[in-house]
Every structure is written in structure tokens, then in C-alpha cells.
């Protein structure tokens, strides 16, 4: 029998606010353990949490960027469970009235992955296990999170990957999170089930917790799919449970049988008051959103005529895309700039992290100046590329590396004279060419190009050379 894969993702996005969600302790990664803590984030009796205004603002930004409706009234709830990572024995989250609902992310294929809702919540502490003992660091306790929950619309590990990459990109564009997987600032829980091809009835699902690598997430989905199918084919029944993915063996193991929502005994947190928003407030935030990667991608391909492959590279990181946008001001042909970025500039940056940061010595206006010289025909591409490499190394403007005479270009008359001289001086090469050796012409071309100091147009010179020789 053939099966359909059904996947839903719950993604936790750590917000890059300065402070925690319910107190003014620093929201900072990598501090000494238990140094960003206070009685509120430790849940001491008698303390009162107060919601961080910025968290609400970021949640609305995220919601609007993900095509959600924003609820005018939302509330905080308590999710009860007992574990050392939660000193209060409950996590403050949103269950009944989350801040955003009914959104979607559109994949390249045009398929929309629906977002059921987005809610705000606090992160739990970090547990370190050593020799069977547990060490608890509450610095992460109370760090603000958004949880973005999809409908079970994802039907392959590739779609899951694309969804997550897009989500990551959008969150970075709107500036609410760095989404660094290696620091755990974005991680997801994956719900997987299979059903007979075309069937409407969903199968029993398993949930893989805490995936913090896109590659492993995809592998975990593929592994679970096969495991489910094998159990069903052998007449067995899938057990609804929570799993952990083991990268070493590319397999999953059981953590616990899955709690039902009612086991968490969700109820309204009486310590926190309603969040009441106005339409004006939401519109103001909507107007402050930057152009999103999807919109930029469409503009680059449809309006600028950039290839899809190149457009993907340009929009992947906001810093790159912003740089491109400001470097193309006033240009007719923006492809020169996109080629420079994807070519010479990317080659000068070794890692993905460097590309993401995109801190280069050459300012966008300097690239703009270079591209304008090319556009106006004052500088040919050859010299421009050479100048660009020097510009990137030094941060100096193009005028430092090309002389007045370089920018004058070279007349056809001058080129013709050079070609005639070259033909006279290289009789052997001419003979070789006439006897059918195409390569011989390249040698002649090279010597003339050298003489023009790169200013000549190779095609034009080749044409002139052929004209002289054939005569």
C-alpha cells in the first residue's frame, strides 16, 4: 500500500528582547550560570510577573509577517507540570486566547502551510546532566519565546525544511530573533503520522521533541515515516508518544507516553491581566514592517530579471538584500551588482555566518559608483572586476584603482592599429590560424588585449583580427 506523510510543526522562536518575558533580568545567552536571575524568574512566593511590552510588539510583528489575524484581546495561562526546569511547577503560556491565529507561510511551489496560531510563553531552565546528577541554570528560565504552530499541512521532509528555512528568514527580516539553531534560539517539535494514500482520516501521531538542526529534523521525519509504515504493514498499532531523535544512529527513542492537553490542567493565570490591543496599534506595527523576503524575491525575479537561483542567494540574509537594495539606486541594469555580490563579494566571505553578517569594507555607494561607470560605458567589465577585488581588500573607492585613461575607453581606430601591428609581428600565428588552428587566434587576441591594458572589448578585437587576416 502507498502512504501519505502528514507533518505538523511547533516551532519555538526565542525573541531577542533585552529582558526576560516577566521580569527585567537580562535575556542573554552564554552568561555564567544563574547570574541573570531574580525572585520573579525563580518563581519565589509573593512575586508578581509583569509582561514585557516588547514581547507583545514582537509577537504582533511576527503574526502580521506570517499573514495571521491578531486577537484584540489575549490572555496568559498556566501550563502545569512538575520538573526541575520550572521552579513554579507551571509554565506561563497562552492556551485559550493566543495572540495570533490563522496565518500561513507560502512555499515556492505556491502551497500554503497554514499556521493555526502563535502564542507567547516563557522558556524553561537549562538542565545539565553530569554523572547522573542534574545541574540547573535558570538564566534561560523566563526567556521570551513565540511558539508558531502549523496545521498538519506538510507532506514531505523537504517541505518541512523549506517551511522552517522560510520561517527563520522572516523572523530575521523583521528583527525579532537571530534564529541561531546552534544556540537553540529556534527549535521545533515535529508531529509525524502516516495514512493510506488519499485517505481523509489522520493516522496516530508521534512527536519528536526539541529538534535544533534542520538537517536532523528532515532525517527524523523520514525515519519516523518508515517506522510507522513498517509497524502498520506488520499489522501493528502506532503508540502515541513523545520521542527523542538520536543523530548518531539516525533513529528515535521513546521519552514518555504523550500527555493529553487536559493533563496539563491549563487555566488562566490570575497574576497577569488581559492584553488589550487596538486596531490602530496593530496598523502602526503593520506599517513599520520591512519588505519581506518573499516580496523581495518576486521583485528581483519579475522586475529585475534576476535568475531564481541568484535571487534566492540575495534574499537569504537581510543584510545582503539590504546592501543590494542600496547599491542599485539609480541603475538601469542591476544584474551587474547582483553578479558582483554573488561572485566577487561572496567569494571574499568564507562562512555562512560571515555572509549573514555581511560586514565588508566596501560601502554600497562605492559599488553603485563602480556599476555606474560600467553602465555609462566608461569602464569595461574586465577592469571593473579587477578594481572590485582591490576595493574589497582596501575599502577604497574605485577611483583609486582605475586611471583617467582607463576610463576613457579606447577607440576602434586605435584597436585596429594595434591589431595590424600584432598580425605583422606574429606571422607564424597567422599561418597557423589559416591552416585551421583556432587557438592561434587566441594568442593574437591575448597580445592585443594586453596592449590595450584590458580596456579593449575582446569580441570587437577578435572581429577586427579576423578581418585583417582573411584579407
Amino acid at each position: 500500500m502507498r502512504y501519505d506523510l502528514v507533518v505538523g510543526l511547533e516551532t519555538h522562536v526565542e525573541l531577542n528582547t533585552k529582558t526576560k518575558i516577566f521580569c527585567n533580568c537580562a535575556n542573554k545567552f552564554g552568561s555564567e550560570p544563574n547570574t541573570n536571575c531574580c525572585p520573579i524568574c525563580l518563581g519565589h512566593p509573593g512575586t508578581l510577573p509583569k509582561l514585557n511590552e516588547k514581547v507583545v510588539n514582537f509577537a504582533i510583528r511576527a503574526g502580521l509577517a506570517l499573514n495571521c489575524e491578531v486577537n484584540l484581546i489575549s490572555k496568559m495561562d498556566r501550563k502545569n507540570y512538575v520538573y526541575p526546569d520550572l521552579p513554579k511547577a507551571y509554565q506561563i503560556s497562552q492556551f485559550y486566547d493566543p495572540i495570533c491565529k490563522n496565518g500561513y507561510i507560502e512555499l515556492d511551489s505556491g502551497k500554503k502551510i497554514r499556521i493555526n496560531h502563535i502564542h507567547m510563553e516563557e522558556d524553561a531552565a537549562k538542565l545539565v546532566y553530569k554523572g547522573g546528577d542534574t545541574y540547573v541554570d535558570y538564566n534561560r528560565g523566563g526567556v521570551p519565546l513565540l511558539e508558531v504552530v502549523t496545521e498538519p499541512d506538510i507532506s514531505s521532509s523537504d517541505e518541512a525544511k523549506e517551511y522552517l528555512e522560510k520561517l527563520q528568514m522572516i523572523m530575521r527580516y523583521i528583527g525579532v530573533s537571530d534564529c541561531k539553531m546552534q544556540e537553540g534560539s529556534i527549535k521545533c517539535d515535529v508531529n509525524v503520522s502516516v495514512k493510506p494514500e488519499g485517505s481523509d482520516k489522520l493516522g496516530i501521531r508521534t512527536e519528536i521533541k526539541n529538534m535544533n538542526s534542520i538537517t536532523f529534523m528532515a532525517k527524523a521525519i523520514d525515519y519516523e515515516r518508515e517506522r510507522h509504515i513498517e509497524i502498520i504493514e506488520n499489522g501493528g498499532k502506532i503508540m502515541q508518544q513523545t520521542l527523542r531523535y538520536l543523530p548518531e544512529t539516525n533513529s528515535t527513542e521513546s521519552m514518555r507516553s504523550k500527555e493529553d492537553a487536559q493533563d496539563y490542567r491549563y487555566f488562566r493565570d490570575p497574576d497577569l491581566v488581559d492584553i488589550v490591543l487596538t486596531k490602530e496599534q496593530i496598523n502602526e506595527i503593520r506599517n513599520s514592517l520591512p519588505e519581506l523576503p518573499g516580496e523581495r524575491f518576486k521583485k528581483y525575479v519579475n522586475e529585475f530579471g534576476i535568475s531564481e537561483n541568484d535571487a534566492v542567494l540575495l534574499v537569504k540574509y537581510k543584510n545582503v538584500s539590504d546592501y543590494f537594495e542600496s547599491a542599485i539606486e539609480g541603475l538601469k541594469n542591476v544584474k551587474t551588482v547582483s553578479n558582483f555580490i554573488i561572485g566577487q563579494i561572496f567569494r571574499s566571505l568564507e562562512t555562512e555566518a560571515e555572509k549573514e553578517e555581511f560586514k565588508i569594507l566596501t560601502a554600497p555607494n562605492q559599488i553603485n559608483e563602480l556599476a555606474k561607470l560600467i553602465e555609462s560605458g566608461k569602464l569595461n567589465m574586465n577592469l571593473a572586476k579587477k578594481a572590485l577585488i582591490k576595493m574589497l581588500e582596501s575599502g577604497k573607492p574605485v577611483t583609486e584603482f582605475v586611471s583617467e585613461s582607463d576610463m576613457k575607453g579606447i577607440s576602434r581606430e586605435e584597436m585596429k592599429k594595434m591589431c595590424e601591428e600584432a598580425v605583422k609581428a606574429n606571422e607564424n600565428a597567422v599561418k597557423d590560424y589559416l591552416s585551421g588552428k583556432e587557438k592561434a587566434l587566441k594568442a593574437l587576441l591575448g597580445s592585443v588585449m594586453k596592449q590595450t591594458r584590458g580596456r579593449g572589448n575582446a569580441q570587437e578585437i577578435e572581429e577586427i583580427l579576423k578581418g585583417i587576416i582573411v584579407k
Binding site: 528582547t17 533585552k18 529582558t19 516577566f22 521580569c23 527585567n24 533580568c25 537580562a26 555564567e32 550560570p33 544563574n34 547570574t35 541573570n36 536571575c37 531574580c38 525572585p39 525563580l42 509583569k50 509582561l51 514585557n52 511590552e53 516588547k54 507583545v56 526541575p84 545539565v128 554523572g131 547522573g132 546528577d133 542534574t134 545541574y135 540547573v136 541554570d137 535558570y138 500527555e259 493533563d263 490570575p270 497577569l272 491581566v273 488581559d274 492584553i275 488589550v276
Partner: protein, 92 residues
């Protein structure tokens, strides 16, 4: 009516181990408690009328860092912890 399955589920979540003979007793006792609490249902309360719960909204803190407590102060309540951490010894 509380069911036998509900008793077992609650016992499991509470890490309580009930003998077969205790299950029915626990079920009856819990039923009694729930029925007692059900008396509250008779009170006619509309939550919208509770002023404290509805008149206050949007109590926020500004996103500005204030100094946290020093680590030793934070760990004071757990005898100083271990290596800067709260420490839970392995138990069997």
C-alpha cells in the same frame, strides 16, 4: 462520576501506586470531593461582573535591563548550590 481509568491516570501522573483494593476506595473518595465542590455551581456568578479581573489590562514592564541578583544570593536558598548551579543529586 469519576471512572476507574481517571483514577489510574491521576495516580500515574502523581506517581502514586495503588493496590487493586485501593482503586475503588480512591474512586469513591474523589467522587465525594467532586460532588462537594459542585455546590459552587449553584452560585450565580457572571465572571464579567468581577471588577478586578476586567478593569485592569495591559500591565507591562519596559524592555530595559535592571540588575539581577548576585549568584550567591540566588543560590542561598539551596545551601549555595554546586559550581554556580542548582544541584539535584541522583536518586533511585
Amino acid at each position: 462520576m469519576i471512572s476507574r481509568e481517571e483514577v489510574l491516570n491521576i495516580a500515574n501522573l502523581s506517581k502514586l501506586y495503588l493496590d487493586e483494593s485501593e482503586i475503588e476506595d480512591a474512586r469513591k473518595e474523589m467522587d465525594g470531593m467532586i460532588n462537594f465542590a459542585k455546590k459552587i455551581d449553584k452560585i450565580d456568578v457572571d465572571f464579567k461582573d468581577l471588577p478586578e479581573f476586567n478593569s485592569i489590562s495591559n500591565a507591562f514592564h519596559e524592555d530595559e535591563i535592571k540588575e539581577s541578583y548576585p549568584q550567591n544570593k540566588i543560590l542561598e536558598s539551596v545551601d549555595g548550590g554546586k559550581d554556580g548551579y542548582f544541584y539535584i543529586k541522583k536518586f533511585n
